[in-house]
């Protein structure tokens, strides 16, 4: 299974990619929303089943990326999880309304990420966090 990690922080991308790789994912990475869209457009092979999406990024922010993905029927199989420092109630509502499935606020405990994946049914074999 493939996952796409979208974050302008290389450290955060590495952290999430490491966790996802440990769960058996083939991990793709992008530094902003537009780069992720371009990657999806030109992707050879299977689509990711999951994208983790930062909110504040250059070129294209995470919310716009979520809206773009949700406007494309061929990408409806991609689960979208916002992973961001944005922590206002209203922002979470906006992200969910735009089509994000879940929302994880930074900083977070590593097990919290796995718990969210479990809840979304995205851990190949159930892992107790």
């Amino acid at each position: 299974m493939r996952a796409l990690v979208i974050d302008d922080s290389r450290t955060m991308r590495m952290l999430l990619a490491r966790q996802l790789s440990g769960l058996g994912y083939d991990v793709l990475q992008a530094g902003h929303g537009q780069e992720a869209l371009d990657l999806l457009e030109t992707l050879d092979g299977e689509l990711p089943v999951l994208a983790t999406v930062d909110w504040n990024m250059p070129v294209m922010d995470g919310l716009t990326f979520v809206q773009q993905v949700r406007s494309r029927v061929e990408w409806r199989g991609i689960s979208l999880m916002m992973v961001t420092t944005e922590a206002e109630h209203e922002q979470i509502v906006r992200a969910l309304a735009a089509g994000a499935h879940d929302y994880l606020i930074k900083p977070f405990l590593p097990e919290a990420f796995v718990e969210k994946l479990n809840f979304l049914g995205l851990v190949p074999r159930r892992v107790e966090a």
Binding site: A100, F119, A129
Partner: protein, 292 residues
């Protein structure tokens, strides 16, 4: 609980050296409650004895167990998943068969900081209250600090991140500074009070439809477990449900319970006098196996 100050100092120093996590004074309760299962496993009477052995023979496995026990936050929303799925898909429909005027009553025993009680409250708010039924949850814990935390219903960012799906967060919580607080509807459903399960006499308790007694029996010896399970039967409706932790069972301790497996999770129901040996009805499509 009365952890020896020297034992606490030793453990907090050990954890600080091994994990850089500081257990400040006042965390004696945490140390005692987290290490008691390890002490029991080692065949020792209490945590003081366990720490005394650790001090004289600090082998690596024991040290690692102690550090893990004290640095893992075991309290999360929808903890372990399957019990709450069983509650939503099997127990709630059963509870809705009771007379409409009856208030549904649930006990979250050993509620810690309240995540279990409020998880139940969220499921009731979404699946029971809209049908015009009322419900209440009694949340109890041995620690008055935990009771206060449950009553307050405020949680930090890291706590909120643990297993709570964002759609439920925005429906049932309000942000207040760095904290998230459960909304008034949920807090009105949950009543928190101090109760020591090991006490021989419990305060007056109502009859419950469901008792959540998860991950707490592991702290007690067999006689105490039996006594608690027997007394739970007295406050549980004959048609009620008991939820235990994944590593806990009534088998060989108090055999007056039937078991049904729902979605990989074991639900317990009391064997009533007139129906001894039979399993109270669970929809056959939901109960995958039954037996004692």
């Amino acid at each position: 609980m009365t952890l020896d100050p020297g034992a606490f100092a030793y453990v907090s120093d050990l954890v600080r050296r091994e994990s850089a996590i500081v257990l400040a004074p006042g965390k004696e309760y945490l140390v005692e409650s987290r290490l008691l299962p390890l002490a029991r496993e080692a065949g020792l009477a209490d945590v003081d004895a366990f720490v005394a052995r650790l001090r004289t023979a600090p082998d690596r496995n024991a040290v690692r167990s102690v550090v893990e026990a004290l640095t893992t936050n075991e309290t999360s929303w929808f903890r372990d998943g399957t019990p709450f799925e069983a509650f939503r898909t099997t127990v709630i429909p059963d509870l809705l068969q009771t007379p409409a005027h009856r208030r549904i009553s649930i006990w979250s025993a050993a509620c810690s900081s309240g995540q279990e009680a409020y998880t139940i409250a969220m499921l009731l708010a979404e699946n029971v209250l809209p049908l015009g039924r009322s419900a209440e949850i009694l949340a109890t814990d041995i620690s008055t600090e935990m009771v206060e935390r449950t009553r307050d219903g405020s949680y930090g960012q890291l706590e909120i991140g643990r297993g709570l799906p964002a759609p439920m967060l925005v429906r049932h919580f309000q942000r207040s500074g760095t904290q998230w607080r459960v909304n008034d509807q949920l807090r009105a459903m949950v009543r928190a009070q101090q109760l020591n399960l090991a006490d021989q006499q419990w305060p007056y308790l109502p009859v419950f439809d469901v008792v959540f007694l998860r991950n707490v029996l592991i702290y007690f010896d067999t006689a105490t477990k039996r006594s608690i399970l027997q007394r739970v039967r007295k406050v549980l409706s004959p048609q009620g449900f008991l939820f235990l932790g994944g590593a806990e069972t009534t088998l060989g301790i108090d055999d007056a319970w039937t078991r049904s497996t729902v979605g990989g999770f074991t639900l317990y129901r009391p064997i009533t006098g007139g129906t001894h040996g039979t399993t109270p009805t669970i929809s056959p499509s939901l109960a995958t196996t039954t037996g004692r």
